[in-house]
Amino acid sequence: MNDVAAKTKFDPVTLAVIENGLQQVCNEMDLAFVRAAFSPVISEALDRSDGIYHRSTGELIAQGELGLPVFVGTMQFGAKAVIDRAKNLKPGDVYIVNDPYLGGTHLMDVRFVKPFFYKGELFCWLSNTGHWPDTGGMVPGGFSANATEVEQEGLRLPPVKLFKEGVMDEEILSIILSNIRIADQRIGDIKGQAAALAIGEKRLTDLLDRYGKDTVEDAIGELKARAARLMRARIATIPDGTYYGESYVDSDGVVDEPLVIRLTVRKEGTELYFDLSKSSPPCRGPMNSVIATTRSSIYLAIKHIFPEVPINAGTFDPLHIEDPKGTFLYAEYPRPVSGCAAEVSQRIAEAVFNALVQAMPDKLFAAPAGTSGNLALGGYDPERKRSYIMYVISGGGYGGSAVGDGISNGCSTIGISKTTPIEVMEQYYPVLFEEYSLHEGSGGAGRTRGGFGVNYRIKLRRGQARASMVMDHGRTGPRGALGGNDGGLNTVRVQRSGKEYTPPHLSKDQNIEIGPGDTVSVSTPGGGGFGDPLARAPDLVLADVQRGYYSAQQAQAKFGVVIAGTPPALDRTATERLRAGATARP
């Protein structure tokens, strides 16, 4: 392979410099977008991404390093959908689109796509996606748990020019603003999202001025080839074979039955073949996944396994994904899709981890909590006389691995977002958090254990509000690996006028009416355990008990470690006896 490198016409320096330059253009767009955003989902949760796309194929050329992982690969499908429909392009035009079936995710992810002209000629496209707090529909925030068609989920925009030659189309803007909640701040997001693309335009022009159009164009082709080569070199380290993984979505929110993802991964030489065709059929509720998201979920899972491979279209070359037609992972109009970006995507990634951990136990990990834990509370604050939508997005435990225990409260695998501080949420919304704590006992037992989830309890202080949630892992915990136990479950409990209410679908529900003094309590999943729990060093189990991560009873039941007394002390003899007995059992 190195001989091939030597033969290319590129001097290695120019290539490295242009790679770095393209990356920097994207990083700067990311930074500007996040800093100028109003949507806290963008500014704090970093639910956005910026990239550069090929002028005719829409293929990914470069993407910001801090873009939300779920957008890896989706945006090139979105860019292609715009390219196919674009007419009469002029510098300064910016398309807006959020149609999930046109290379998207869910309706809240609004894409801006801008043709980039260099010296009068179309050179490429710049695009970014940002999660808006609301795009209309039956629940505030868009995470409907029981929609049965996309029209109920919100306003769907086909690709239209929101900016024409740099001037905003006020008529299109007014259609948008008339159909969404909390419209007054969206003008800030729209201007910020467009400004980020303008900054990218400026920097990319500098790069082309410096190195010349042809050189940059050639370098882009070369970088694509090299990313493919690097990915193939990594894949080659996986033993040839066929691996099976599966994962479960609790329910679709409408029909109370689990959805199953059945994934077969075949590894042959330097290629990976993914077959999802045995998964559940399309569902009535909003847990369908559009194909762009299904593909992107596999891409991001592989990127989590081989983080050092740079992202461009070449990275995905050796990944062959059969369109899973006839399953819920290939949603077509008008199937509802609001759960696909945040939940189904993570179940797909989980199935990939689950399959490949068998092939590469040293490299992978047990399943991470893998739910975004979306809770939206929409209501009216009578004291401040305004409507609000509060989002709480949660983390959970990561899986144990050959390296060590999983971390607690890690971000969703499709995200990189940070929790909004409680002090910030209490400033904005009429709520009081009564608790924000570690979900004890939730880490799956194993030789290395899973990390822990989170408990929180929110009390509404005044006015009426409606709570909606799209979470998962309420029925089955994140899978343990190689003999490790599953992580703890997600739970939701609502106290209304002193009575407890548990959502019938456990992790999904919508428009639960609450009033002053009522509370919503959520506990998020822990990560899966890795390896035999009886092989975990007793001293580590003792430390876990001293910290209150597990009770002494749990230590004994899960790890076969006997701990007694105050302060807790390890009974080595009893532990050895217990473990010997446990191993002897069939």
């Binding site: 701040q185 800030g188 999983g406 890690g410 501080p421 002090e423 910030v424």
Partner: protein, 688 residues
């Protein structure tokens, strides 16, 4: 007192490898320097060693300003005090759960260890709301019980950290009184006293950092102070802080967190001081060492300060510090070819051991330093190891083996490629601190220091379109110089969080005045002579609904609402080219820096006047072949810095060698020595 004319003032900076010292006699203008190995276990030995090596006697010194890595190292190595937490009921896990992050965007493994383990985090009933109203009164008996329990668990320090204490600190203060009455020492930290700003994780971690390094710093400074006293030192020992100011050793441990990252800050302070004197108030600073490079920004002679440091994964330290951007490229960065055939330089570093190949300590993989040596930019006689000699051939072989064969390049081409890829990476870092913050690098001069900064600076300036390069007289001891010239400085932040139309402008004035009063009182308590007290005010602002802030500077305590609106709109436009008249601006935080200006020191004597040659030619050491990206190998003049005559003028290509650093002047650049001993380089022959 400092500034007493009876003796020299000493700046002494402890770095990872060396302890550097500079002593300036304000009367005779004599300057002495010393460089001794850092003594890791107890930095005080190195400090005393440096004083001795410079020929100084503590009894005759009129002041010592000390930059120490004690707290930074303690944190990175987790050699910290056992520390307890008393916090709001329901929230003891905040410090462990963090902000739901993972160590890297991709990859799902990695570890996190909270500074205070769970069994030492206790809760008490109390609660404020976001407006500062009491929701649940403080349970004082529970506070006493918690303190008692933590003492029984052998905690040396304790943090009291309550929700919303930034808006109403009454519960924290009361709990502090109770705990102080019981605690066996003074190591009691209140979250809102260190940082009166919202975001409970960041404020809590900042307080936990303070508490866990406080005993470590206190013991170190006390020991050093005693050693100095025993040797007859009678004056003030000052300590550098991360905000670029100094603080008296008497009170430094109270806010020990402020000394974290003081090393990079002192370098930037020296740059600011030198730039102000030399007439270059707007500088980008570039400090390249063995494993990493630091880039900072100075506007109008004042270093940019920010409060967003993340020392390592999930360890935010939100006290104001000089804003320094660190990248993993230093002299020891290793070059390699990845599986796709791309040349990468760093972030892996050969460190001090085995170090670059040319050190002869067993290194076999080529580094930036090796490439510089191979291209003649570094002096082969000075660097090829003496004890276990390494030949140029060994380096050539390694360059070919690790880089050349895979890229189809010879050793020379490989070395050149390494330098250019490294320069490009460093230029990227400079762009991120300038362009990405709305500043054009072409409006700045580049100030290069550190062991390797001046080797790469001319190429970097060219890459970035920076017209002017400033190389100080003593690039290798810039941090120590920063200690000597730094002023006393104390920073204060208070959260206001009110939209401008309803903002009580009287509250703004009162808050700023209170911050000034606190700063003045602290400076008075330090008992250090200052010539003047200066005050800087800034406001963090945002549009209503945003969560990120932009910082604008304020003219004074009497700022008007209209001026705030305008200043914010202007700054916002400059950064994003967006105007938003539709949305209300919000004043988030008010900052005040209270600066006690210490007496000015003469810098013109940094290079001794004796021993200078009469002409530039007289400073010529040799001519050797040196490789440049423009024109390849060229016969190049090599000058001795100490011999260059005052006002020397010459043109590149040239190499200037001095005791602790080598300067590369690229072909087409013009150099002029100014009267402060700086070399001012006009890139590409632009007129000065």
């Amino acid at each position: 007192m400092t500034g007493d004319a009876s003796g020299s003032i000493v700046g002494v900076d402890v770095g990872g490898t060396f302890t550097d010292l500079i002593a300036i006699d304000p009367v005779t203008r004599g300057v002495r320097v010393a460089k001794v190995p850092t003594t890791v276990e107890n930095q005080a030995f190195g400090v005393l060693g440096a004083i001795a090596a410079s020929g100084g006697d503590p009894a005759t010194l009129s002041g010592i300003v000390h930059g120490t890595t004690t707290t930074t190292n303690a944190l990175l190595e987790r050699k910290i005090a056992k520390c307890g937490l008393i916090t709001t009921r329901g929230f003891r896990d905040s410090l462990e759960l963090g902000r739901r992050t993972r160590p890297t965007p991709y990859g799902l493994t990695g570890q996190f260890r909270p500074l205070i383990p769970r069994e030492l985090r206790l809760e008490v009933p109390e609660r404020m709301d976001a407006d500062g109203n009491v929701v649940l009164p403080l349970d004082e008996a529970a506070v006493a019980a918690a303190a008692k329990a933590l003492i029984a668990l052998d905690c040396e320090a304790v943090v009291i950290h309550f929700l919303h204490s930034y808006i109403n600190g009454a519960h924290e203060r009361r709990a502090g009184e109770i705990v102080r009455g019981m605690w066996p020492n003074s190591y009691v930290t209140l979250g809102s006293a260190i940082l009166s700003e919202y975001r409970e994780y960041e404020r809590g971690v900042t307080a936990a950092v303070n508490a866990s390094v406080q005993p470590v710093l206190h013991r170190y400074i006390e020991r050093l102070g005693n050693e100095l006293k025993a040797k007859g030192f009678r004056h003030e020992l000052l300590v550098m802080q991360g905000n670029g100011g100094t603080v008296s050793s008497r009170i430094v441990a109270e806010a020990a967190v402020n000394t974290v990252m003081s090393g990079p800050a002192s370098g930037v302070m020296a740059a600011a001081y030198t730039g102000r004197q030399a007439g270059y108030p707007d500088l980008i600073t570039y400090d390249m060492g063995g494993t990493s490079s630091d880039v900072g920004l100075i506007l109008g002679g004042v270093p940019r300060v920010s409060a967003e440091l993340e020392l390592e994964y999930a360890m935010p330290i939100h006290v104001p510090m000089v804003d320094v951007h660190t990248i993993g490229a230093g002299g020891g960065s290793i070059a390699h070819i990845d599986d796709s055939g791309m040349l990468r330089v760093g972030p892996e570093s050969a460190g001090a051991k085995p170090g670059p190949i040319c050190y002869g300590r067993g290194g076999t993989r080529p580094t930036i330093t090796d490439a510089n040596l191979f291209l003649g930019r570094l002096n082969p006689k000075g660097l090829l190891a003496v004890d276990s000699p390494v030949s140029m051939q060994t380096i050539a072989d390694a360059l070919k083996r690790e880089v050349g064969v895979k890229l189809g390049l010879d050793a020379e081409g490989s070395a050149a490629a390494i330098i250019r890829v490294a320069n490009d990476k460093m230029a990227g870092a400079v762009r991120m601190v300038s362009l990405a913050k709305g500043h054009d690098p072409r409006d700045f001069a580049l100030f290069a220091f550190g062991g390797a900064g001046p080797l790469h600076a001319a190429a970097l300036a060219r890459e970035l379109g920076i017209p002017r390069l400033l190389i100080p007289a003593r690039p290798g001891i810039t941090n120590a110089l920063g200690c000597v010239v730094a002023d006393l400085r104390h920073d204060y932040v208070n959260t206001i969080n009110k939209p401008l139309p309803v903002l009580d402008m009287d509250l703004v004035k009162r808050t700023l005045e209170a911050q000034i009063a606190e700063g003045r009182a602290t400076i008075a308590r330090e008992g250090v002579a200052v010539e003047a007290i200066e005050v800087l005010h800034e406001a963090d602002m945002q549009f209503q609904g945003q969560s990120h802030i932009l910082t604008v500077s304020l003219p004074g305590v009497d700022v008007t609402r209209e001026a705030l609106v305008k200043a914010f709109a202007d700054t916002y436009w400059k950064r994003f080219e967006v105007s938003l008249p539709e949305i209300r601006p919000v004043l988030v935080n008010l900052h005040t820096a209270v600066i006690g200006r210490r007496p000015t020191l003469p810098l013109d004597a940094l290079l001794p006047s004796e021993g200078r040659a009469a002409t530039v030619e007289g400073a010529l050491v040799e001519r050797r072949k040196v490789w440049f990206s423009e024109g390849g190998w060229q016969e190049t003049a090599v000058y001795r810095r100490e011999k260059l005559p005052p006002g020397a003028k010459f043109a590149g290509p040239a190499i200037v060698e001095q005791l602790d650093c080598t300067i590369v002047i690229e072909p087409g650049d013009r150099v002029e020595a100014d009267k402060y001993g700086n070399l001012v380089v006009s890139i590409g022959g632009q007129s000065t």
